[in-house]
Symmetry: C2
Subunit: 605 residues, 2 copies
Amino acid sequence: MSESLLSSRNLAFELYEVLDAEGLTQRERFAEHSRETFDAAIDTARSIAENLFAPHNRKNDEHEPEYVDGAAVLIPEVKPAVDAFLEAGFLNATREFEVGGMQLPNLLSQACFAHFQSANAATTSYPFLTMGAANLIEAFGSPEQKQRFLQPMIDGRFFGTMALTEPHAGSSLSDIRTRAEPAADGTYRLKGNKIFISGGDHPLSENIVHMVLAKLPDAPAGVKGISLFIVPKFLVKDDGSLGERNDVVLAGLFHKMGWRGTTSTALNFGDNSNCVAYLVGKPHQGLSYMFQMMNEARIGVGMGAVMLGYAGYLYSLDYARQRPQGRLPDGKDPTSSQVAIIEHADVRRMLLTQKAYVEGSFDLGLYAARLFDDTLTLETEAERRSALELLDLLTPIVKSWPSEFCLKANELAIQILGGHGYTRDYPVEQYYRDNRLNPIHEGTHGIQSLDLLGRKVSMNGGAALKQLLKLIHGTCQRAEAHASLTALREPLEQLLARLQTVTLALLGDLMSGKVNEGLANSALYLKVFGHTVIGWRWLEQAICAEQGLTRLNNSEGNPADADFYQGKLQAARFFLTWEVPACQHDLDLLEGRDPTCLAMQDAWF
Amino acid sequence: MSESLLSSRNLAFELYEVLDAEGLTQRERFAEHSRETFDAAIDTARSIAENLFAPHNRKNDEHEPEYVDGAAVLIPEVKPAVDAFLEAGFLNATREFEVGGMQLPNLLSQACFAHFQSANAATTSYPFLTMGAANLIEAFGSPEQKQRFLQPMIDGRFFGTMALTEPHAGSSLSDIRTRAEPAADGTYRLKGNKIFISGGDHPLSENIVHMVLAKLPDAPAGVKGISLFIVPKFLVKDDGSLGERNDVVLAGLFHKMGWRGTTSTALNFGDNSNCVAYLVGKPHQGLSYMFQMMNEARIGVGMGAVMLGYAGYLYSLDYARQRPQGRLPDGKDPTSSQVAIIEHADVRRMLLTQKAYVEGSFDLGLYAARLFDDTLTLETEAERRSALELLDLLTPIVKSWPSEFCLKANELAIQILGGHGYTRDYPVEQYYRDNRLNPIHEGTHGIQSLDLLGRKVSMNGGAALKQLLKLIHGTCQRAEAHASLTALREPLEQLLARLQTVTLALLGDLMSGKVNEGLANSALYLKVFGHTVIGWRWLEQAICAEQGLTRLNNSEGNPADADFYQGKLQAARFFLTWEVPACQHDLDLLEGRDPTCLAMQDAWF
């Protein structure tokens, strides 16, 4: 079997031909790095993912965590895998050398992490959630909180969670009911119930640090009255040793369709009125803190969706090459040998579709990760702010597009395997079940669409949108140098021109008070915007592939790469000529403010 | 909770307003029936489905059949449910009164059966497979075979299966290796292995009659050398009592992603060289016999996909009405109450999409069932043949369209429930897993597309296609009487005109030997053809809804129906203005013989 987690050749293409990872080593923060150190980190990630994560992916699914005596019990393979991840330093891949990190660019950290996400989505969740919680304390915690809670997380002794959702408040966080009462000692006492808390209990670490949203007694109503608290499972003494068990209780586990290896927990805070909590930052700022860290989490979710798609794509590709079945339409002699199913045009369509979805969004996810590096390491404040604006704008796409289309890729992977793909003897059905979570958590598809159209495209006078449009135009201009790309470029240009007009029109609605009407078809807007962005990324990849072919014509590079570049061009052609033009009709609907969905009445269903 | 299996009002609309079920009672075969007997049968079906099928649907999933001592063991709830189904006569709903049947139209039999498919896909499979096997023997078996095997099936004592697939031969049946050697007594001895045989073992009946495809020693190669055999699990003596166990062994069970309650078996025939088989009909005609019965099976599979979609739609609709979450975009006061999520435009989009997919294909499935009645009961041979041609043409759509789009509906049902929908505490995730089988079995999506474009549209000089186009034009003409339907009719007319041209062009390719090229994008053709057909059915429904509103305006009928008719119009509007025009781009690709998928090379992936 060929590579199972991702294509190394494609990763190298992304890092060194499309996204100029080596250019990052010119920046002071990454000056001690080189292509060699990058590749060494990737090799380590691949090795641990293949040897310790992938082998128990199915077992994680078949033996989901159990609730035993108030605790969650996992299969024994999870801890050694996570320990190896920690030992190799991936939890702190982007942290400074001086605190024990690898000081890698986020781009490289995501590239390494992608291997784990492909190998075993469930086991990978535990360090992923810990990274998110740690980043939150690092950004907004007090020095003492960092000492007490962050340092042990960096050391791999404490793990973390994000505790937002409540039984009656998921998408609508302004309605949370968890309360925090100030105590005499400057800490708080929390009371409330949270659900769907991933990693809310497990035996992988000494302690679990819950980052909990709750309301103070004097909180204003709504999102402006939400504060952020640290709630450790075990209290931590001044000397760093563990104290008593805090008053946070595992009330139960949720049983999911997929992603079963990750505990999804119901947590009760303060059943005995003694749940000690520590306020992070200022009162009532909790949601804005969360949102400032949301880009990372959402890139992570998007990349998770990509990697499940990637795993399914590679598996079905390998299967299609091995499995003989039927003959070509023009060769029906029943005494001839059967052909491998990859020879059938429709199987190629299903593989090419997967490739277009998976490699298109893989590129976007890594592009966003590199942009994240820009937000931290570009030279001027203005450049950094500008990079952050662009990242803010792209985040809903980075999160939602792969959640939808790499799930579709998984559906096609099953189809290629036929009846076998529907059995649990093959991995593709699990990828499909696992991936179905991604359009739901970290902000549903609908929430992402409202974030994009209702907030992101108009922020700062549309500065980010203008920036993006300029970048896409720039790519189109560079594509003009390649006559072979004309048929790929034109559909993108046609989409882009109209997207611009339609966006202005919709923003006009929003500003003139027609909010319900303007946002009614936001999901359609999200789709068109996403296809524009992915189409852009495919055109970028196509330009890089053309450049690669030119080098080969000049006898530079590895001649075996010709096939790789042709594959890139064909996938770009597929996406830009099959998928992008189909969005014109979506634009018709958006342009006409189609009222069909909004006008539908409850009583008519 | 409102109705959970299907909407009775919608079923009545289909039967009595769209498909003129009462008209069938004018035909001699159905002369003893009336709307009252039809409704009584439906009431019985609903009652048994609700009380005996639905309650163990989840348990079927959680406790899949086990392999114990060479036999499959099911949960105890399955048998009483199936027994009630048999007792009520649904196995023989369409058979003559004189053999103990209800002599119902196929339309009514499907309408009854739909309730069971919605309530519990897995348990319903056992009688479904038995009906298929029985019909095969009825059509092609000898009088003695009918006496020995069919009558006990009609009596509910024997169940049946269809045993086609082998480990190396699924879509490519011409490559099956199971052999049948003639024995001295006129029977045959079978040897071979079959996989994915649904219902291949279970404790629900005294005996299981396997309908097995195998090759005789003198068989020509390919599909023209396949014969059909009866292989009973237990031999049947001349007096009808059971004899020895036949040499067919349950080798194992497959463990599937969904549809878990139905045993999917590996069967070994003739391990001890003593598997007694009976040839059905003539040698080498087996596959053509199978294909002649395929319409029924494929309508059944399509309706199964519809009903899983229907169950998810109704569940998510009910949930959306109950679940408060968030506020409308123009009402963000956080102290105001949350609204039910059905108030959100994007949730309405997801519900309306489900309604359009589910009710559109429900109509088509019932339309096909009525057409099946026409093939048997229209007055002249020419009319019956003509109905059969149309049914043959529509069958790939009836099977594949709901398999794809009602699966999509199930995906949306999960999304509406959010995190809850992803847990096994709610039924929608099971519907999604169950429905994922439908694009695979009874001919994959790809096979259906080749059947449509490579065989059905051109058969008998395109007679069926011409008939269909004429019917759709007729509907469009009748729609012209309603000004309100102009915006719905025009997109269909635009699609239709081009579909005709494109079909001729593609058939030209096929006839001029460019077979690989002509069939390369057959999946796209299937999609456009399917959308045209479903668009047509929605326009029919819209006309009937307009007529209903007209009656209400004339003070005829139930005023409460106004909402129902408005909902029909809105769903028709959604499908015809959101979905149908999007196919224009697919037609561009088909018209241009887009070579992207065909040109993709193995080495480029």
